[in-house]
Symmetry: C2
Subunit: 90 residues, 2 copies
């Protein structure tokens, strides 16, 4: 599984391009974010990427989960987004 890290300064359209590229080669991609601002950029990127893959009849499904991270001996809980691309099912 491929992992992307998105920060608060990431440009959503560029992340969307990279995500689309990864999803075309791998069935699952994980996006790691720390903080609300990074999550915001990641979710915008997913919304943009949906437009890139929509002409192929595909849809992006996002499943959020928590993960623990240790930075400077402090444990913080952040979000991980599991992204999957599938034919529109629902």
């Amino acid at each position: 599984m491929e992992t992307m890290k998105v920060s608060s300064s990431s440009v959503p359209s560029k992340v969307a391009g990279a995500l689309t590229c990864l999803l075309r080669e791998h069935p699952q991609v994980t996006i790691q974010v720390i903080g609300a601002a990074s999550l915001n950029q990641a979710m915008k990127a997913i919304a943009i990427a949906r437009g890139y893959i929509a002409p192929g009849g595909q849809e992006i499904y996002c499943i959020p989960s928590f993960y623990d991270l240790t930075i400077d001996n402090q444990t913080i809980t952040s979000l991980r987004l599991n992204i999957e691309m599938h034919e529109k099912l629902f």
Copy 2:
């Protein structure tokens, strides 16, 4: 389709409970958020709600999209999360 509004001061565990309840009665639920902090609370709530429905072999799928909102004659673009609960497919 049911719509929920999540703000930056919403408590994720409570939103998770309400979301689980709605998903058990409706096939699709929409969460509207304005701003990164609200989105953060909503995504935390979805991650928590996954735990509530996991024992039933179900999974929550989230699909973000943009929507335009007019507040005080200003148009702002915000995120809408389409939430669907299905048996674990992938």
